[in-house]
């Protein structure tokens, strides 16, 4: 393996001379015919070289840029020396789910955005190295799990098994609390399982993380829809505290004529059929999915990108992403945009749907679009798109997927009126992640609106610490 002294003796100039590695990936022509992961992961030697690009600067802007404050220079230094196990210890100490974060975090807007090397040239590939260490750990049987701590006698309920719920459950279990996750669906992972496709986040990774939690003693009860099967007030009778991370899973539609034609899906439905229900496995799955020679997807975020790339893989020769703003405004991860382009996805910017047109059997046959131009900045600071009059045109489509956002699902909150909500129905949580009900904490998308995996994980981790304090200060253990 690499000579450790070699890394220490590198001068900044020598470090600067190393160019950013390329991520080995599946050939685009091949990958549009399968659902295997696009990025294949770095070789050990490439990872070591990449880590050596880090200048070990004093300010460490990358740490501040990471929503969970991973000690990036420390773990990179270990990678640069070939000490992967030590790197793993540091990494897992700060982020329980690096195999996931390394794959789905928008690094170009977090750690890598502020990396000093990015100011002139390319930032260190922190996300790829995070993934490298996580995959190395899995392959070498490295587990960060400490010995099971003594039981505290406190019981905590977690609602939802997305990244927020899973992280909170893990942190609580590590502190010795008796944790039960209640999940509405028949499987775990939330968006990690039903939303993000196999080619971006293989489900074996989610399975491994969940298995780790179960081995820590976390119980998962599926098919429990909190608000329907049981309510939050019910849970508080059996549990000493509760963490709500039920996501923001209510799809927003376009509100244009023709939206209920056959062949028009919300991204949630399309991706759930394909991912959770396994329609990507073709005839091995009992779940059907509509296919079409041309697919049009509305939206510009990760959900839109996942939908359009999935449609491409399910046989759409022409797969179009129609977005009402410009390329620079797209919220999707940069890497996904690049991968989509390589896969022949067509981007149409500054267009908005006017109507969806159907055939005599009630199937979509085309979308009518109008052109937009960018006007004054709106509340989000992005320039607001305005209609170009008389610019309507038709685009033939047999499959239309709407990926223009989600809202808070009122199913849980409706049965818990004491829970304070903001005007959009999101749960209000204070700086301790506690809601208006003592002992009831919340985090992730249900608090933030549609956000990111890492922010949900960060909430879960922090809330677990606050729940631990709350229990010790306010509750007597059940023995």
């Amino acid at each position: 393996m690499a000579d450790p002294t070699e890394n220490r003796s590198l001068t900044p100039k020598e470090r600067l001379a190393i160019g950013r590695v390329a991520m080995p990936q599946q050939d685009p022509a091949a990958r549009v015919t399968n659902f295997s992961e696009v990025n294949l992961g770095l070789e050990e030697s490439a990872a070591v070289m990449e880590a050596r690009r880090c200048l070990m600067c004093k300010n460490r802007p990358c740490v501040a840029g990471c929503p969970v404050g991973v000690r990036i220079p420390e773990f990179l230094e270990q990678v640069a020396q070939g000490n992967f196990a030590t790197a793993a210890e540091i990494l897992y100490g700060d982020n329980a789910l690096p195999a996931i974060a390394g794959r789905v975090c928008p690094q170009e807007r977090q750690c890598e955005e502020v990396c000093v090397r990015g100011k002139k040239g390319q930032s260190v590939a922190i996300g790829w190295l995070e993934r490298f260490i996580a995959d190395w750990s899995a392959a070498h049987g490295f587990t960060a799990a400490a010995a099971k701590p003594a039981a505290t006698g406190y019981r905590v309920a977690v609602v939802g098994s997305g990244p927020g719920g899973l992280t909170a459950a893990g942190e609580l279990a590590k502190r010795g609390h008796d944790v039960t996750i209640f999940e509405a669906l028949h499987d775990s992972g939330g968006v990690l399982r039903y939303g993000i496709p196999e080619f971006r986040l293989p489900k074996r990774i989610v399975d491994a993380e969940v298995a780790g939690l179960v081995s820590l003693g976390v119980k998962i009860e599926f098919n429990v829809v909190v608000g329907k099967t049981i309510t939050v007030p019910d849970m508080l009778k059996d549990f000493d505290a509760c963490f709500i991370a039920n996501g923001a899973g209510l799809p927003v539609f376009l509100n244009v004529p023709g939206e209920n034609l056959k062949g028009v899906y919300s991204a949630n439905e399309y991706l759930t059929r394909v991912n959770l229900m396994g329609a990507w496995k073709g005839s091995q799955s009992s779940t059907p999915i509509a296919r079409g020679a041309t697919a049009v997807v509305f939206g510009g975020g990760n959900t839109a990108m996942d939908s359009v790339r999935t449609a491409r893989r399910l046989g759409s020769q022409r797969a179009v992403l129609a977005y009402r703003r410009g390329r620079a405004e797209m919220p999707a991860r940069a890497e996904e945009v690049a991968h989509a382009e390589e896969e022949g996805i067509e981007f149409m910017f500054l267009v908005a749907p006017v109507e969806i047109l159907g055939d005599a059997q009630g199937w979509v046959r085309a979308v009518k679009l109008q052109r937009m131009e960018l006007g004054e900045p709106d509340a989000s600071g992005r320039r607001r798109p305005v209609v170009v009059p008389g610019s309507d045109f038709e685009l033939p489509a047999e499959l239309v997927i709407v990926a223009v956002g989600t809202k808070a699902n009122p199913l849980l909150t409706r049965t818990c009126p004491q829970l304070a909500l903001n005007p959009w129905g999101n749960i209000i949580a204070d700086e301790n992640h506690m809601t208006s009900i003592p002992g009831v904490f919340a985090g992730g998308d249900i608090v933030r609106g549609g956000a990111t995996v890492i922010l949900a994980m960060g909430d879960g981790k922090e809330a677990a610490g606050r729940i631990d304090q709350y229990l010790r200060q306010n509750k007597t253990p059940r023995r």
């Binding site: 509405a184 669906l185 028949h186 599926f222 098919n223 429990v224 829809v225 329907k228 099967t229 049981i230 899973g249 209510l250 799809p251 539609f253 939206e259 209920n260 056959k262 062949g263 899906y265 919300s266 949630n268 439905e269 759930t272 059929r273 229900m277 396994g278 329609a279 073709g282 005839s283 091995q284 799955s285 009992s286 779940t287 059907p288 999915i289 509509a290 296919r291 079409g292 059997q361 009630g362 199937w363 047999e398 699902n409 009122p410 199913l411």
Partner: protein, 285 residues
């Protein structure tokens, strides 16, 4: 795993299952449903909770084994358990005291109707049930209904039981009764195939009789997450799984509902090669 306590074929291909599901049994109200996934890899199928016993911790489901998904449920139930049962989902029926109520059920829709009729009767309504089936063997639950209904009228298309014809004919007679008579309903609940519900709604529309239908679009999660169950009611998009399944029968877009229900019968959605081939030839079911 949800244990099956009993399984019984009550009409050809129509099965009654008693399932151990204590939390659902305790929370459930009439009009609600569950989503069942028979086994790993099986579809998620919505089924009305026909009855429940909270003391025993059981719910009763009535399943017509018509497609692969429902046949799989029966197969698994016979083997002793179902993998996933989630619920109770949907809004409970709003039970009011109307006076005379007609409850119209077609085919296996009668199973959906049963808990509503029972709850309406328990609330002090005089319930007339009209139950239709193609022939005698396909008429279900008429005896159970008779326990709490003022009268049960059975119609069969071939005349092998009760009145020969459709449920609409029997309903027409009730509607023709004088406004203050004990026959004439103040409200009508209809559950069955879409054409039947639509026909009933058309019958009651002229007199403006309150008509409630229970819709069964294709569902996935049943919690409002996918929007696959969307229906148009009064010009608005509603999600049947969370806003329904019961809606004002006079406001539902039935043509759209029928069309959407048929989506997956279309070859463009079937994944096996045979059908993909027929799709290439441009044929459509």
């Amino acid at each position: 795993m949800f244990k099956i306590l009993s399984e019984q074929e009550i009409a050809p291909a129509v099965h009654r299952l008693v399932v151990a599901a204590p939390r659902i049994a305790a929370a459930r109200q009439p009009g609600q449903f569950v989503i069942v996934r028979a086994a790993e890899g099986a579809e998620r199928i919505p089924l009305t909770i026909a009855d429940a016993d909270s003391a025993a911790g059981t719910i009763t489901l009535i399943v017509q084994a018509v497609g692969d998904g429902t046949r799989r449920i029966i197969e698994q139930a016979r083997a002793g358990s179902l993998r996933d049962v989630a619920g109770p989902l949907g809004r409970p029926t709003e039970i009011e005291r109307f006076g005379n109520v007609a409850c119209v059920g077609g085919g296996v829709g009668t199973a959906v109707l049963f808990p509503l009729a029972k709850a309406l009767a328990a609330a002090g309504n005089a319930v007339t049930a009209i139950i239709g089936g193609r022939s005698k063997g396909l008429v279900i639950l008429h005896q159970e209904m008779a326990e709490f209904c003022r009268q049960v009228l059975v119609t069969t298309e071939d005349g092998s039981m009760g009145i020969k014809g459709f449920v609409t004919a029997a309903l027409a007679e009730l509607l023709a009764a004088p406004a203050d008579s004990a026959q004439r309903p103040a409200a009508v609940y209809a559950v069955g195939p879409v054409p039947m519900m639509r026909a009933v709604a058309e019958q009651t529309r002229p007199a403006g009789i309150r008509t409630i239908v229970s819709l069964n679009p294709i569902m996935v999660d049943g919690t409002g997450m996918c929007g696959g169950c969307r229906v148009t009611v009064g010009g608005q998009i509603r999600f049947a799984c969370v806003d329904g399944p019961e809606f004002d029968g006079h406001a539902v877009d039935y043509a759209e509902l029928s069309s959407r229900q048929n989506a997956y019968l279309d070859p463009r959605c079937k994944l096996d090669e045979q059908l993909a081939a027929s799709q290439k030839k441009g044929s459509r079911a």
